[in-house]
Symmetry: D3
Subunit: 134 residues, 6 copies
């Protein structure tokens, strides 16, 4: 199995609901280092899993929807605790939708087996979500 | 599959038995950067794999039993070569016992699918142990 | 010249005032990796620049005043743009006050020549403030 | 499952063929940070996945065949786009051949379950190839 | 003294002339992680050393002149050994020219005290050049 | 001012004397990531601060005297607390002696202005020693 991975980052504000979150119930923020791994059984004729430039651009577009925002006020996230693991899943779903719509090139979506999204929130904590793309 | 991971570190001394270890047969030491990944199929109602504060505290407790010690003199490790890969397994077993005893919160143990423990011993070498939690 | 450095991190929310900040005028946030370097001409009798445990504890106390907060609502920062470079200076001043009050041990303050505080805000940007301690 | 991993690096030149590569069609180069993960179900009697010194030496030998070279002129790579993901596969195959020939010690090859080779090409991109060793 | 630093990277090919370079006399390549530190005595009224967006953009423009190139064929570098330390100086000079021409905003050039350019070429080697800007 | 830096690592055991060291009074150990920065005003005719291969080899020789050892039993360190900052100074002195003896090439010693040795002991602590070479 081959993997190609690209990374970028966002800076967001948010707060959490629930006593389990302790001081993180207050409005605070995070820099998320974001990594997306794309997996494919065999390389294409050019020797690629996918066009890495398109992968970087697609990730940047997905992250631009969230960057410099207070996630508490993003309508589609309303009522959710935007934990690091939830956001890994959210970015997975947004990447998946764009890949399905051809963002990595015509025909590429059907060749990819699975994807993993990793969010690094601090030097001592990170989270990820991984799922099939087919 | 969702993953949440936390990290900490320990500084230990030890020696190895067997010609295969060459100069590492002498008493020497290591800083181990330790990462624990916890995996769960779906997030809980709060949007979590588990309470990250409890995960960090549990890891810290496990590591406190080993930190600033000469592993050659830790009774329960007597007679073992405390290689990086062995210690990854050892920390896995100690984490597993505490998680089973409720360290990550009542009911959390049964929701976790698997765990991976990574030990980084130098810029050019690391080891890990991964296993099911159920 | 000897240096000892310790690190920790905080997660904060804030917004900026001024067109120069573009999208960062919106409420967003950051994880700051924080490093403090303490400089001394000669080591003490124990072979130390200072007690590294006290240095870590002092940094943690300073950061606890800011961690999980919206910096826009911290009274003593009101009216300031809490840029990464400003916050490096702010943490310098808070560390300096505690060191002057004996946080690193009696007599240590007068032995330290200078200090540098580094804040890492993202994989592509960081800032620092450095100044004399005497 | 236990893993032991070792790392090294190479510095190579190459060019790509195909419009999809844009400016990377020109002769350029890369530093590849190379990580090799070796996986084994149970540790051996010495407490090892394999001899880490032999693993580092074997990786160094494989990389020495490629280091400081223009990959466009390496006969066995002629006509291939030496993308990061292709090179991860290529280094996998070269490691696999040496391991099969006993480079990690007599009998070790048959004990290893699988291997992953990771190539880090820049702060924002990496690739890997993973496969069974038996 | 305040510092703001930004980073980016380039991928280049080159060769060296002189027996001292050993195998690096052959055409090979490198990924250079490039960091630029800008130093200023006091912050401006907005709380900044300089506009970090402009700093990132200016660095990207300078690096675009070199990225995906064979440095042996860049006319203005002809006849020079493009060692990591030489390239740190070269990027310093190119940044300095753009800053002097107003790339970081009108009036910013005269407020900056000095600049350091760091090039990271591999996990075990890096180089830098530092000089005054006034 | 130009800088060239190289890195390597060692794994040692040691203990400390004095109540200030708390649990670190027990025999424990550390992996030290070691970085050596060499500074020179102008590049030589080849475009170098110094031969990076010789710098790596010299550092490796110095570290080989200490690697896989219990520093409590190294005769020339007897009676010293081998703190991270002390060891940075110790490695500085050993590098300086070899450089003075021509390890970086005939004539190179007199061209270098200063040197800094950094020891990274854990993800949250490091130390360094810096001094003139002339």
């Amino acid at each position: 199995m081959y993997v190609v991975a690209v990374s970028d980052h966002i800076m967001i504000a948010h707060s959490f609901t629930g006593e389990i979150f302790g001081p993180a119930q207050a409005l605070h923020g995070a820099t998320y280092g974001v990594e997306v791994e794309l997996r494919r059984q065999e390389l294409d004729a050019a020797g690629l899993v996918c066009d890495i430039g398109l992968a970087l651009a697609t990730l940047h577009e997905v992250l631009s929807e969230l960057n410099y925002r207070n996630l508490d006020e993003v309508p589609e996230l309303r009522g959710r605790n935007t934990t690091t693991e939830f956001m890994a899943g959210e970015i997975f779903r947004r990447m998946q939708a764009r890949i399905g719509a051809g963002a990595l090139g015509p025909g590429t979506a059907s060749t990819l087996a699975s994807m993993r999204v990793v969010l690094r929130e601090s030097p001592v904590a990170w989270a990820s979500y991984e799922g099939a793309l087919r």
